[in-house]
């Protein structure tokens, strides 16, 4: 695997005469920086929109069969399931008008999906073929919500013990910690500019790279990724100036983050962010090369209009990326093949 990648990289460098590679000899665009460079396939997931329409393509996960599962808020088919070549294998789901967050968890050999719905104000657990296991309403027991309308969940993270963490990223900005029976154990975060608070707590995941698991939670409007213990205690803040990051996805020693806007937050300015094991930005496909000056990242911005509004990225076993986009002209996911 590495050998093939090294070979491809060296041949690309030779072809470009040591310049920066933008196009392969076959006319394919190459994006990214350092060791994280990708060929772009703009048509990877394209389908006939008359039969399998999408609105926003919000999130993607991969199951253990290797299938790529896409969540869209089009109620003709909220879930589209592809193989890695972009061929459609299955489609289901008509009840998720606000389909937004998609998390997959293997629970004793069977995989389940956790869908957040921003219009239903609910989190729904389903099987991989769409049977609903449960639907959790707004967290009245928390005492911090008066009505469902204040609760607009954007993402879930599920721990190995079955605990579910829900990020209320378009609502009141709380992180809600439940056990698997649906009993509320903890509430933290909340709207504000404090270090342990959020402006747009959009995405959450469990980071198992260190000795003890942690939560990574995006504060999108603040261009920050915040680290919390599983008990809700703040552990650190990672500044990514200019990068409006949606959801952290941990794969190997890296964190991948679809970045919906950049620079001053103008529309159409997205790219993809990739952090190393020290949580430093090392590659930004579609964005400017990341540069650190005295440990501070120079503000990021888009350089090529390949992506419009990346909303999530899925990493497969060969470290290829699948990028789903919000508000991008009803387009299907883009694949980035690592070179």
């Amino acid at each position: 695997m590495m050998k093939r990648r090294e070979f491809l990289k060296s041949s690309l460098w030779a072809a470009a005469g040591m310049g920066l590679v933008s196009w392969t000899s076959r006319g394919e665009l190459v994006l990214g920086h350092g060791d994280f460079r990708y060929k772009v396939d703009l048509n990877w997931g394209a389908l006939n929109a008359q039969f399998y329409p999408v609105k926003d393509c919000h999130e993607l996960v991969q199951d253990k069969q290797g299938r790529i599962i896409l969540l869209t808020n089009h109620t003709r088919n909220n879930v589209l399931i592809y193989n890695r070549d972009g061929r459609l294998l299955d489609a289901w789901g008509t009840d998720f008008p606000g389909a937004h967050g998609l998390t997959l968890k293997d629970e004793g050999g069977e995989e389940f999906l956790y869908i957040t719905d921003t219009e239903r104000h609910e989190v729904i657990k389903t099987t991989l073929n769409g049977r609903v296991v449960w639907a959790w309403a707004y967290p009245k027991a928390s005492g911090v919500y008066d009505s469902p309308s204040q609760y607009i969940p954007t993402e879930t993270a599920v721990a190995d013990n079955g605990d579910v963490y829900i990020a209320d990223g378009y609502g009141s900005q709380y992180i809600l910690h439940y056990n698997q029976k649906g009993e509320l154990l903890n509430v933290f975060g909340g709207k504000g500019e404090g270090e342990a608070q959020f402006l747009n707590a959009h995405g959450i995941c469990i980071d198992q790279r260190g000795q003890a698991p942690e939560l990574l939670i995006t504060a999108r409007q603040q261009n920050q990724l915040k680290r919390f213990g599983m008990d809700g205690a703040l552990k650190g803040v990672i500044d990514l100036p200019g990068a409006y990051i949606c959801r952290p996805v941990v794969h190997g020693s890296n964190v991948y983050l679809a970045t919906i806007w950049s620079g001053d937050g103008s529309s159409g300015t997205g790219f993809v962010s990739i952090l190393d094991e020290h949580n430093r930005l090392v590659s930004a496909p579609g964005g400017v090369a990341p540069v650190y000056e005295e440990d501070q990242l120079r503000p990021m911005y888009q350089v090529l209009r390949v992506f419009t509004h990346p909303h999530d990225v899925c990493v497969d076993e060969d470290e290829n990326l699948y990028v789903a986009q919000w508000n991008a002209g009803f387009t299907y996911p883009i694949k980035l093949t690592r070179v």
């Binding site: 933008s22 006319g27 703009l42 400017v288 911005y301 350089v303």
Partner: protein
């Protein structure tokens, strides 16, 4: 040999056609201060190998013959810096424009009243934000204190200008963001004690325009009192727009009273 060369050329051109048309992003334009007294500096950047930036200073469209950007632009007069990025392998970027405004000939001004009040979600830091010389960001949500927003057909304002007679122009610093239903107003009229002393009309916007700052200049006839009344008539969203027929939002972050030299 010649045939081989020909086939090679054909292959190359075929490959070129197969490439997706990818466009460069607009250059980043960073200004020290949009409002300035002596000088201000505009920096342009699109840090990507092989990119060339070109610019104009008079608001005219940037083309492949415009000046090449080689370093920060120090400006001592009001100007509109427009820039585009060029690269042999990619489509030219969209144009970005940033206007800077000299305050050298500025006269004191305060806003005493505005009817109706700004929309509750866009009240800025109050009416005083319109005379604090603080420029709002193009992404208005990023500087909520700077921008005041109205969704109304008609906006009336009372202005107090103690240095009566010295100024001959009123300048409205507006936001133009059709996607967010924000457009410069269609008409602005200025009155002094009931007598009209200035009027300006704006052109109907075309679809696809960029998000940009807009300085609307209203020349004033000589006046007698230190109180001005301003009547702002909102643009009706054009028929090409999703909100056709409704008034566009008016977003203001500054009003300047100036003596145009």
């Amino acid at each position: 040999m010649r045939r081989m060369y020909f086939i090679f050329l054909m292959l190359c051109s075929g490959l070129a056609l197969a490439q997706p048309r990818i466009q460069l992003s607009p250059p980043q334009a960073v200004v020290d201060s949009v409002f300035f007294t002596e000088t201000t500096t505009v920096r342009l950047e699109l840090d990507f190998p092989g990119v060339e930036l070109r610019y104009t200073l008079d608001g005219s469209p940037v083309g492949s013959n415009s000046s090449v950007y080689k370093g920060p632009l120090a400006l001592s007069q009001s100007a509109t810096v427009s820039a585009k990025a060029f690269h042999p392998d990619f489509e030219d970027s969209p144009q970005v424009s940033i206007a800077v405004r000299s305050l050298k000939y500025n006269q004191p001004l305060s806003i005493t009243n505005a009817t109706p009040r700004p929309a509750p979600q866009y009240t800025g830091a109050g009416l005083s934000a319109l005379t604090d010389r603080q420029k709002g960001a193009l992404n208005f949500a990023a500087t909520p204190k700077a921008w005041l927003g109205w969704e109304t057909d008609t906006l009336r304002m009372q202005l107090n200008a103690p240095e009566a007679g010295k100024a001959n122009m009123l300048v409205f610093s507006l936001l133009d963001n059709a996607g967010a239903w924000i457009m410069p107003p269609a008409v602005v009229k200025v009155y002094d004690a009931g007598e009209q002393i200035g009027q300006i009309e704006t052109a109907r916007p075309e679809p696809g325009g960029p998000t940009q700052y807009h300085f609307l200049e209203v020349p004033l006839k000589p006046r007698s009192s230190d109180t001005l009344e301003v009547l702002v008539l909102a643009r009706q969203l054009p028929d090409w727009h999703d909100g056709a027929g409704r008034p566009a939002w008016i977003f203001l972050d500054e009003i300047l009273l100036t003596q145009k030299p």
